[in-house]
């Protein structure tokens, strides 16, 4: 699985993307967030108020119950500020 980060989240995590293998019992975004939170404390601040973070799965806006697998590209980013 590729996980991408943007804006201040990228700076907080310290890299723009990570390649990770998730266990087969992780099947949706919410479970992925719990898995990352337990894996490393660097994710804790990011997901402390997870409802404020935008999620994309395969470049489409998604939610906590969206299905994920190791072949997906996930992105976490703050609300957008273009224009």
């Amino acid at each position: 699985m590729v996980i991408k980060y943007f804006s201040w989240i990228k700076e907080h995590i310290g890299e723009s993307e990570e390649l990770i293998d998730i266990p087969s019992d992780i099947t949706n975004v919410d479970q992925l967030i719990n898995y990352l939170n337990e894996k490393d404390s660097k994710y804790n601040l990011l997901f402390e108020k997870k409802e404020l973070i935008k999620i994309a799965v395969n470049k489409t806006y998604s939610s906590f119950d969206t299905k994920v697998s190791n072949s997906d590209e996930i992105a976490f980013f703050p609300p957008v500020t273009g224009g």
Binding site: F6, A75, V80, T81, G82, G83
Partner: protein
């Protein structure tokens, strides 16, 4: 599929753009109105009371373009536009630089006004771009403005 296909252009680029050139692109045989919006980098942040020396924009390649295309398709369906262009700059920008161009053409003016306004409102809330302002070595990621969410309400069917 889109009937009577409009001309469509979506560009994410570092370079500046030429408004006259983009206006000519939007003019088709059946065009009676063209509305252009140009966003400019401000040199002062009124909310936080500070000068902005420069700004950097980043985006999510692939997703940004596909979100803009969705917005464009919806605007075409609602207002039967004859031309639609969205150009958004990324990278380093300075105050007074042009940052975004949204131009639409249609047979009559009201559709062009509404279509342009609609695209801009959706772009502000959906297209993955992020701005960081730089001032004397301090960096500040611009935070989302709730008024941009409020602006969307007027487009509810």
């Amino acid at each position: 599929m889109i009937k009577n296909s409009p001309v469509i252009k979506v560009k994410i680029q570092n370079e500046d753009f030429d408004v006259s050139e983009e206006t000519r692109f939007l003019q088709q045989d059946n065009t009676g109105a063209i509305v252009n919006f140009v966003g400019i980098v401000r040199g002062y942040d009124e909310k936080n009371n500070r000068t902005i020396h420069s700004m950097k924009l980043e985006h999510y390649p692939g997703m940004t373009e596909s979100e803009i295309e969705k917005i464009i398709f919806e605007s075409y369906k609602r207002w039967q536009l004859t031309g639609i262009t969205v150009i958004h700059r990324v990278g380093n920008l300075k105050p007074s630089d042009k940052i975004v161009f949204v131009g639409v053409s249609s047979k009559h003016r009201q559709n062009a006004f509404d279509g342009c306004n609609f695209i801009m409102d959706w772009l502000k809330t959906k297209a993955p771009f992020w701005k960081v302002e730089e001032n004397n070595n301090k960096r500040n990621w611009v935070s989302f403005n709730e008024s941009d969410n409020q602006a969307l309400k007027k487009w509810k069917k």
